[in-house]
Every structure is written in C-alpha cells, then in structure tokens.
C-alpha cells in the first residue's frame, strides 16, 4: 500500500473509530492522536514526494469503482428521501438526475475508457495536501476543546460529539482524495462526499434554522454536482477519457469549453461565489470548528482548486472571461457587504467569499503571474482565515457573543486572544502580510492581461477591505473598560495550542513566501506552461517585505517603557470640559451623568440589506447566462 493511500485512508479510519467510541476521555485522546497523526503524515508525504512528484496508476480499479457506485447510490437514496421528507423536492430532483446520469454512463458508455494515471501528486497537489492536512488537523485538535466548552454553554443542543468529530475527519479524507485524484469519476465522488459532510456539519445543532441552512447548502452543492456529472459524461463520450490531466492538455475549442464551463459552475457553487453564496453564509449556524474547516482548509478551497487546475484552458477564452467577471463581481460586492456586518463570523464569511472571488479572478485570467497569485492566495487565505475563525470561536466563549462592537473589552478579558486575532486580521489585509503580496501580483497580472475593468474593481474592493478590517482592529485596540457581564469561559489548552500554532504559521508563511514561491509555485508553473516561470515580485522587493515583517514582529517591544523616570502626567480624556471624573461618563445637558457611547460605522444604508444582495446576484446570474449563450453560439458555429 503506498503512502498516498495511507494518507487518504488514515483520516477515514480515525473518523470511524471516533464515531464508534462513546467514552469522552478515550475519544478525545483518539482525536488528538488522529489529528497529530494526520499532520505528521501530511508533512511526511509532502517531503517524500514534493521534489520528484508522483504519478500513480492503480491497476485493479473495478473494486474501487464498484465501491464508489454503491456509496454514491446509497448517498443518493438518502438525499432523495431527505428531500421528499422535508419537502425540498429540488434537491431530490438534482440528486436523482445526477445519479441516473452517472449510472447510465458507468454501465453503458464507460466500457473501453481506460484511466492510466489514477493519482497525481504534483506541486499544486502538494500545496493543497499541506493546507488540508496541517490546517485541517489543527482545526480537529481545536474542536476537542471547543466542543466541550460549546456543550457547557449550549445545553439545549443534543450532544453528538462523536458524530461531529467523525465528520471532521471524514471531510479531511475526502479532501485528500479530491486533490490527489486524477480520475474525474473519483474526484466527483470525493466532491459529493465533501458536499454531504458540509451538510451534516451545518445541520449539527438540529434547530430549525440549522436544518434549513443545511438543506440549502445541500441543494446548491448538489446542483453544482449535476453540472459536474454532465461535464464528466460529455468529456467521457466526446474524448473517451476521464483523466483531468488529459483534459487540461487539450486545446480550448468549443467542444472542450462546454464541459470546462460546467466544471467551473460546479466550482463556483462549491466556492460559494455569487449567485451561489447563500449557503456559506447560512453555514454560520454550525459550531465554529466546522465553519473554520469549511472556510479555510476544505470545501470552498475545493472549488478554487479545480479552477486553478483548469486555468490553462481558461485565459482569454469566453469561458475564462465569464468566470473572471463572476469572480470580480463577487469580490467587489462581498467586500462592500462585509462593511455592513456587526457579527464577527458574518464579516469573516463575506470576506471569505470576497477573497475566493479574488482567487477565481486570478485563476481564470490564466496567465503565469495570475496563477502564481492565486496559489499564494489559497495558502495565505487558508492560514489566516482559520486562525481568525478559531479565535472568534474562543472569543465567543470568553465574552459571550461575537458582536464586533463588544470586542473593545477583549484586551482586558484575554490579551492573548486579541493578539492572535490581530495577527489574523493583519494577515488578511496589511502589508507585508501574505494576502497583500498576492493582491499586488494580481494587480500586475490584470494590467498585463489588459483587463481594465478588473483592475478598477480590484482597487475598489481593496479599499472596502481596508475599511472593515481597519475598524475591527481599531475596536480591539480601543480597549474599553473591563467591566463586562462576568461571563468568562475557560480558555483551555486544547483551544489555545492550535490557535497559537496557527498564528505562528501565519507569521512564518509570510516570512517564507519567497521560498514557497521558489520551490513550489514557480516549478508548478514551469511545468504547466513549459519553459521557465519567474516569480513576479523582484528579489529587492521581497527583501523589503521580509524586513518590514521583521519590523512588525519587533514593534511590540516599543510598548515596554524604556525609562521609568520619565515624567508623564496622566489626565482624563477630552470630553469638551464636561468630564464626570472617570473616562466613561460626561455631564449632560441637565447636569445628569451620561455614559459616552460610540459605535463604528457600518454604512448599512448603502451596503446592507436585501437590495444590494439582490442586485449583485442578478448581475452574476446574467453574466452566467451570457456565458451559456456565448457557448451555444460558438458551438453552433
């Protein structure tokens, strides 16, 4: 059995064992061992194959194919009955259609199509495996501590920790399969498993809202699965192949572009791009570890991974243009909508969708530089976003809610958590952190490929990003008084260790980005495009960025007062001469003491509300329709 197979199967085994063990202590131990094991295995596999890569052909696939068919049919039966039971007939219809299509294809058309290479481990899969394995297992580790605290706080939710933790590991296993497989049928299978896992995780609390949102997620993603299944059938019947690598090496002609468009639509649903983004926003109802997993290491990254893979076929083709536009509108609209949110998890969700939009834009432009930026964005987004989600999860337990306005007391409640959170936020938008490096290159590549509108959209979106992250950090440093409602949870080591490690990874990955570029991304691009690729950022600038990073790390030392002797007088803050003694109250009109109360700007009149969402959805839907028309037109010619 090869290492790759072990990597895919290990989380699966952990998942099954976790599900079966009901004793809390033993299960926690198993999860910890499983998480550490997955991480170690991931790193080991990456080291083993990173340089030379690996192309694996699996001889006897009949058994695997049969197993896949059986699981798929079982899954379909479950989804169809669920749909009928909950009167969501659309999901049943989608599921029925795609399963019949795949079964028909499997038994009548597939004979004679040989799949030479079942598994490919190249630099891109290497990067993805590392993201999924390392970030994912840290989230699983965190889940142990978090779920304990969660059930202490939420006594109304039925305790199903075994189930929850088991699904997390199943998810990781499916993601490994998804990024490593080259056989489209297998990718499709893993794709459906991740859809199903996300459905289970979102519905965990079993409240009405959670059930509705999980069904919405299922409907949208199974809908994406329909597009995926159609694409497979078209590729199989037209070209007699089922290999992703073969598809990518084809010429972008009309007959190829139609299935590529369908695959992109599937990817857009999975990556929650407009107009399919509603499910990811609804996914917030789930406990935090599952949101973290969905937003950083798994689910949404599956979609952009597929688009990055298909990037060489997109570029200047009509499909590429359409997907770029959808990504751009998503980036702009969601960056603006994030301004109007007070709920920390919602801000994170909108920013995830916006950043995925950016990745989709970069990938679908399809030049070397832009794909460079896209891959780097995937890495940096995964590390920063997962840190942010985990921090917000713990903060919710500490201060009792996750409203950004209330986080001004966080410095007093837990200084560590606010610093972790700040590192995460800085990672999302400040120079010299990673996301910004990627945006820089994105900008360059958009101009090089002559996409003026996209350049302008990027400029506006970045400005909006600056605003909402800026006001969040501002609230954190504004350090209000610590007199809160006394709602202090325990910040256990189970929660803190993964958060700490992720903060370290965020900082480290920013320092090491020239190395990531040199050893992973540039070789991958040289491979795909032939010839030698170049890192789009010059060495001089890379050095300046690293120096800045070092400066930022050292800066907190400035907090330490150098000389105690220095005389400084502490005065009350300015209240227009009407101080009431402390720094919180002032003497109001009739001599009454009033508390000064400030709130951030959310510009809800502009970017909040349903109308903005409606119009952004309308625009993206019309763009996709234009895409369909263009393809039909080209095909007909």
């Amino acid at each position: 059995m090869s290492l790759i197979t072990v990597l895919i199967l290990f989380p699966l085994v952990v998942s099954i064992v976790t599900f079966l063990v009901r004793k809390e202590n033993i299960r926690s131990a198993i999860v910890r061992v499983g998480a550490v094991g997955t991480a170690v295995l991931t790193v080991y596999t990456a080291i083993q194959y990173f340089n030379s890569g690996l192309i694996l052909s699996i001889g006897e696939t009949e058994m695997i194919d049969l197993f896949i068919i059986v699981v798929e049919v079982g899954l379909a039966a479950y989804i169809i009955t669920t749909g009928i039971r909950t009167k969501k007939y659309l999901v049943s219809l989608f599921s029925l259609f795609q399963t019949c299509l795949i079964l028909w294809f499997e038994f009548t058309q597939k004979a004679g199509i040989e799949v030479e290479t079942g598994i490919v481990f190249d630099k891109l899969s290497g990067v993805m495996v590392l993201v999924v394995g390392v970030i994912g297992s840290l989230i699983c580790l965190y889940a142990v501590g978090y779920m304990k605290a969660y059930h202490d706080h939420h006594t109304e939710v039925k305790e199903r920790k075994s189930f929850f933790l088991a699904v997390l590991f199943l998810f990781l296993s499916a993601m490994f399969g998804l990024v490593l497989c080259n056989n489209l049928m297998w990718i499709y299978f893993c794709w459906e498993i991740t859809t199903f896992c996300s459905y289970l995780l979102i519905g965990y609390t079993q409240t009405k809202e959670a059930r509705n949102n999980s069904l919405l997620a299922l409907t949208i993603n199974v809908g994406g699965g329909v597009a995926f299944a159609c694409a497979i059938v078209m590729i199989g019947m037209n070209f007699r192949t089922l290999e992703l690598s073969t598809l990518i090496s084809m010429k972008p002609e009309a007959l190829v572009l139609i299935p590529v468009f369908l695959l992109c639509v599937a990817a857009l649903t999975k990556s929650a791009q407009l107009p399919f983004s509603a499910w990811l926003l609804g996914a917030m109802v789930a406990p935090t570890p599952s949101s973290a997993l969905l937003h950083s290491a798994t689910m949404v990254k599956a979609g952009v991974y597929l688009i990055i893979r298909l990037a060489p076929l997109l570029g200047a083709t009509s499909v590429g243009r359409i997907i770029t536009l959808v990504g751009a509108i998503t980036f702009l609209a969601c960056s603006l909508m994030a301004i109007a949110q007070r709920d920390a998890k919602k801000v994170l969700a909108y920013s995830t969708i916006a950043n995925l939009g950016l990745i989709v834009m970069c990938a679908s432009i399809g030049t070397q530089e832009s794909i460079w930026a896209a891959i780097l964005l995937v890495i940096f987004h995964a590390v920063s976003k997962s840190l942010l989600f985990l921090s917000v999860g713990s903060i919710e337990h500490q201060i009792g809610n996750r409203n950004i306005e209330n986080m001004n007391i966080l410095m007093n409640v837990s200084r560590k958590l606010s610093i972790y959170l700040m590192i995460g936020i800085a990672g999302m938008f400040l120079a010299p952190f990673g996301m910004l490096i990627s945006k820089w290159v994105a900008m360059k590549s958009f101009i090089d490929s002559n996409n003026i509108i996209i350049v302008i959209i990027l400029a506006y979106g970045s400005a909006a990003t600056l605003f909402y992250w800026g006001k969040w950090i501002g609230t954190l440093v504004s350090n209000g008084s610590g007199k809160n409602n006394g709602h202090h949870g325990v910040f256990s080591l189970d929660e803190e260790l993964p958060i700490f490690l992720q903060a370290v990874i965020v900082v480290f990955s920013c320092l090491a980005f020239p190395l990531i570029s040199k050893f992973a991304i540039v070789p991958y691009l040289s491979d795909v495009f032939g010839g030698t690729a170049m890192a789009p950022i010059g060495t001089g600038n890379q050095i300046i960025m690293v120096i800045m990073m070092a400066m930022l790390i050292l800066l907190p030392l400035g907090y330490i007062p150098l000389s105690k002797k220095e005389k400084s007088r502490v005065t009350p803050i300015y209240m227009a001469g009407e101080n009431a003694g402390d720094n919180e109250n002032f003497i109001a009109a009739t001599g009454v003491k009033r508390k000064s109360d400030l709130s951030n700007w959310y510009l809800e009149g502009y970017f909040g509300g349903k109308i903005f969402t409606f119009w952004s959805n309308m625009i993206t839907i019309s763009i996709l329709c234009v895409g369909v028309l263009l393809l039909i037109w080209r095909w007909a010619l």
Binding site: A431, A464, F467, S478, N479, R569
Partner: protein, 288 residues
Amino acid sequence: MMLAIQIILIVVLTPLVGGLLAGFDRIISARVQGRKGPPLLQPFYDVLKLLQKENIQVNKTYKFYVYVSLLFIILTAVIMLIGGDILLAIFVLTLGAIFFVFGGYASQSPYSIIGAERELLQMMAYEPMVLITAAGLYMVSKTFFIGEIIARDVPAIVYLPAVFIGFVYILTFKLRKSPFDLSLGHHAHQELVQGISTEYSGTELAVIEITHWYETIISLVFVYIFFVTSNPISHVFAIIACIVVYLFEIILDNSTVRVKWQLALKSAWIVTGVLSIMNLMILSFFKF
C-alpha cells in the same frame, strides 16, 4: 555607501521641505483671508515648542502608534525617492496611515475615535484612485519602479490626463484640506476639536506634524512622477506642476467648507470611477 547617504539625505531633507511648504501654506492662506500671516519658518518654531512641552497622556498605549506611523511613512518616502516600486510604496503608506488610525482608537477618547473612523472612511474614499494611479503609470511604462517610470521620453501626463485629475481630486484628502478634512482639520474646527489628534500633546503632536510634512512630500512626488521624463529640463516643469497643484489645494482649502462624509465618499468614488475607466479604457484601446 552611496545608497546609505542618499537615504540619510531623504530622511533629513524631506521633512525640511515639507515644513517649508507648510509655512508657505500658512502665508498664502493668511493672504487669501486678508491677514499678514506668520513667518515662513513658523511650523518649525511650533514643532520645536511642542517638543519642549510637558509629557501628558491619557493612557499608556496610544502614543506608541504615532511613532510606528512615522516610521512607515519615512519608509514610504525612502522607497519613493530612491525610485523604488510604487505599489510597494502605496502599501507601506497605507500601513503608516492605518497605524495613525489605530492610535486614534487606542486613546479611547470619543473625539479621537470619531476622527479615527472618519480617517478610515477617507482612506476608503481615496485608496481606489491611488491604486489606479499606480496601475495607470504601469500601463504606460510597463514597470512599477519609479526610477524607470520617469526615465521615459514622454511624460506620463500625456497618456493619463484624466487619471491625473482624479489624483488631484483625492489629494485633498491626503493633504487634509477642506472640503475633505473630515478626520483632522488643521484649523480648529469646533465640530471635531482636532479629530484623531485630540488627545495628543507635546512630543507626539510634533511627531504627527512631522509625519504630515513627509506625507505632503510623498503626495507631491506622485504629481511629480506624472511630469518627469528622461530630459533634465522636465524636472523644472514637474516642480512647477507641484507648486501649481499645491497652490490650487490651498486656494480650495480656503474657499470651501467641510462637506458631509456621504458626499466625500460618493464624489471621490464617482470621480475615480468615471475618470479612470475613461482614461484607462482609451489607453488600452490603443494597446500600450
């Protein structure tokens, strides 16, 4: 070695020129208002006086941010003036500006926090145009390095007139001039007291003033880049252009009142969008 000397000169001379400009600004403003105005070196006297003041603070942390802000603004000036990457300079400039905002938040004072929020809003208003300016310059010269952008035969202004106008429009934010001085007026407007800087005194106020001198020069360097070519005489034109733009901003400052934030944001975004789309589209049509 040459580079080190160059950097030291930039760090020392930039605020001196910036301070002189501020003095010039005050004289012109006074003349516009029918007053005589202070001597040219008044800003320097002010800063020296501030440095001697007693150290007063409202809490332990907020002063720290002002120094960080200055540090990154100096870095921006250095990157720009040694001909470095313009996008990198913009990002570092943003970093400096945002640390200043954090300082406002950290003081916990209502007036400061309102000022800080307004500053953030202003950043959101002007940031697209700054990025698009860099993009436009890249389109005409195929490089982000200022040293290479200005080594061309034709000045960028010929290709980017609309982008230039857009940039001058948002320059008003950057120079903290009316009608867009929402976060920190240099005149004692009553509505905001002094915005972000309400709680700063003594040394830190001096640092804020010096930071602003750097920022003024950085802003004018953008204007400068539009006019300079490989021909040495073009530097004279560029300096004249900077002086004209600065004079224009002073007159504008004295002839307008502060607008509401809604108008500031909307107008900045609309002007940016219309002018830059127009300009860049035409440019890309002719395939640069």
